[in-house]
Point group: C2
Chain length 330, copies 2
C-alpha cells in the first residue's frame, strides 16, 4: 500500500509509492555533459571573470583556493533603489539584490566530493563570510546559497562552484519553514528540527551518517528519491553563527554523503541548498534551525507535482538511507 506522508515543518504531502519501489540501479542517471574547453573559473583565467569580492589563499605557493566573484550574468542587480511598482491587481519591485559565484577550487575539479575536507570547509566559511557581508545591506532580507552540480541539475559550467543570491524579500519556501517551525514551537515549546534530529538518531532507520556535531538523514516526507538533509545537532537559526569546528564536521559529512551518492547512483547531478534564517531585523526567528538540503536529480518533475505541490517518490527514505549506509567509504 502506498503511503501519504506529511512534512512536519512545511506541511507538504508526498506519496511514498512502495508498490513500484525503485532500487538505486533502476534510476537512469542523466549524464548530459557540460561544455569543456576554456574554463573561466580556473586559476590563470581570472581576467575573464569579474574582480573578486573575496579570496581565500591556501598557502604561499598558490594565489587562492576559493574565489568569490559577482555573477557575470546576475539574476538581480546590486545597484538601485528598491522601488515598488503596482499595476492594477499586480505588485512588483525593482530587481535589486546580489548574485555571486563561489569558485570552490583553483584547479579544474568538477566534483565537490573530490576536494579535501579542509577545502570544503573553506567553501563553507566563504558562504558564511559573504552572508555576513551582505547582512549590512539594508535593502536585503536574506541570502540563499545553492549549488547546481551537473547539466541536468541546471549547472552551466563544470568547474565546481556554488552560488549566492541575496534577496530583498523572504522567499516562499523559507517563510513556510519559518511559519511551520514557529507553529510547532508554540505548540510544543521545542524546535521541530531538534525533535526530528533526536527522533531520527533514536530510530536510526533514516540516518545515513553522523558525527558528534552533524547528522545526515533522508527526511520522513522525502519529495525525491535519495533526498538528504544535513542538520547541525546544536540548535541555531543562522548558518553564519557556525564556527570552524562545526564547518569541519559539516564538510566531512557532506563529502561522505556525496561520495556515497556517487557510488550508489553513478555520480548523479544534484542540487544542494542552504536553508538559514533571514537577516536579523527584530522578528523572532529563534525557533528556526538552519540546515542543508540535497536533491539528487533522478526523476522528472511532471504535471502532477506542478499542479499540486505534492510529490510522488518511488523510493522510500528508509530504503534510500539503508542503501547509502551500506556503502563503505575508505
Amino acid at each position: 500500500m502506498p503511503m501519504l506522508r506529511k512534512d512536519p515543518i512545511a506541511g507538504r504531502w508526498v506519496i511514498i509509492a512502495t508498490e513500484r519501489a525503485k532500487r538505486p540501479r533502476e534510476y537512469q542517471v542523466d549524464t548530459e555533459s557540460l561544455p569543456s574547453g576554456f574554463c573561466p573559473f580556473c586559476a590563470g583565467n581570472e581576467d575573464s571573470t569579474p574582480d573578486p569580492v573575496a579570496i581565500y589563499p591556501k598557502g604561499a605557493d598558490q594565489d587562492w583556493s576559493v574565489r568569490v566573484i559577482p555573477n557575470k550574468f546576475p539574476a538581480l542587480q546590486t545597484t538601485g533603489e528598491l522601488t515598488p511598482h503596482t499595476e492594477g491587481v499586480y505588485e512588483g519591485l525593482a530587481g535589486v539584490g546580489a548574485h555571486e559565484v563561489i569558485i570552490e577550487a583553483a584547479e579544474h575539479v568538477s566534483d565537490l566530493a573530490a576536494l579535501p575536507v579542509d577545502q570544503i570547509a573553506t567553501v563553507l566559511r566563504a558562504w558564511k563570510d559573504r552572508i555576513n557581508d551582505l547582512r549590512n545591506d539594508e535593502r536585503l532580507e536574506c541570502a540563499v546559497v545553492f549549488k547546481n552540480h551537473g547539466a541536468a541539475a541546471g549547472a552551466s559550467l563544470e568547474h565546481t562552484h556554488s552560488q549566492l543570491i541575496a534577496l530583498p524579500i523572504i522567499p516562499k519556501r523559507l517563510s513556510e519553514e519559518l511559519v511551520g517551525s514557529k507553529r510547532y514551537y508554540l505548540a510544543h515549546d521545542r524546535c521541530v528540527y531538534c525533535d526530528i534530529v533526536a527522533q531520527e538518531l533514536d530510530e536510526g532507520t533514516r540516518v545515513v551518517c553522523s558525527d558528534d556535531k552533524v547528522v545526515a538523514l533522508t527526511p520522513f516526507a522525502s519529495r525525491f528519491p535519495f533526498e538528504l538533509w544535513i542538520l547541525p545537532r546544536e540548535h541555531d537559526p543562522w548558518y553564519e553563527n557556525s564556527d570552524d569546528e562545526l564547518f569541519a564536521s559539516v564538510a566531512a559529512v557532506l563529502k561522505r554523503v556525496l561520495q556515497k551518492l556517487n557510488r550508489a547512483l553513478d555520480s548523479p547531478p544534484f542540487n544542494l541548498m542552504l536553508h538559514s534564517a533571514p537577516f536579523p531585523d527584530g522578528d523572532d526567528v529563534s525557533h528556526y534551525h538552519w540546515h542543508l538540503e540535497l536533491i539528487p536529480k533522478l526523476t522528472k518533475v511532471a504535471g502532477f507535482e506542478w499542479g499540486t505541490g505534492f510529490y510522488i517518490n518511488p523510493t522510500s527514505p528508509e530504503s534510500a538511507a539503508e542503501h547509502l549506509r551500506e556503502i563503505e567509504i575508505d
Copy 2:
C-alpha cells in the same frame, strides 16, 4: 533592470530576468524520445490495459474515441481505509485514492494539438465525468487532472493521454490558491481571477488568444518562459460545472495555444494541469475560479528554485505573449 513580480493569488515571487532575455529560438528543446513499438493505448490492444471505467464512442464505425482506465501502476490505491498513522513528530495516511488514465484518441496520435476540436472537447468532458463520479467517494477531497507531454515532461508513453489523481487531502498548491483567492475576496469583494481576466483583456499585452468564453494569457508572475493560463471568463469554482458549449471554447483555445507553442518552440514537451475547487464539503470556496495551467518544459529547475520556491524566468510574459500572438494558425 530585472523585475521582481508577485503572483497575486499564491503570493509567490519570480525574477523576470530582462537582462538576459531569451527569444523562443534560443531555447534548446529537449527532444528525448519515448519508446516506440507496441502501444498499449491503441485501439485493438485493449486487453493489455485494465478494464475501462468510462468509454466515449464517436460513431457507429468505432468502438471508442476516448477511453478512461485505472492506471496499471497507480500512485494511490482505490481500496482501503483512510487510516491515519503517527510516528513521533510525523504524520501519515494510508495511500488511498484514485489514479486513472484518459486515453485521448483511439489512433496512435502523440500530440493533443493534432486532434480535432470536438475530440479535444470529448476529452474535457471525460475529465468532468470522472471528477463527478469520484466526488461520490467520501474518502476523497479533490481530483487533479494533468497531462505530461513528451519524455522531458515526465511522460512514459507517446500515445496522447492525460491522468487523473483523486486525493484524500487538499494539496498544498490548491490550498494556497484557495487561501489567496479568499484573502482577495475578503479585501475587495471580487474574485481575483475575474479581476485578472478583466485587467488582462483591457491591457492586452499578456493575452495570447481569446473568444467570448475563454482567455489564454501568460501570467504576470510567470515562473517559466511561455507559461500559460487558460481561464473561463465566467466565474465558477468547479470545472465540473462546465457545459458542452464552454468545453467547445476551451478545446478550441487549447488547441490553438498548443499549435502556437509547437510552431514557436519546436513542439516542446509540456505539462498541463487543471486547477479546480475541492469536492464540495460545506466549506465556502465560492471565491475560487477554475483554470488550466500550461508549462512548456524549456528550462531546468535548479537549486535556487528548489531552495526558495522563487523562480528566475528568462523571458518576460509580455514578450512570450507577443511571440505567440504573432504566430498565425490556419
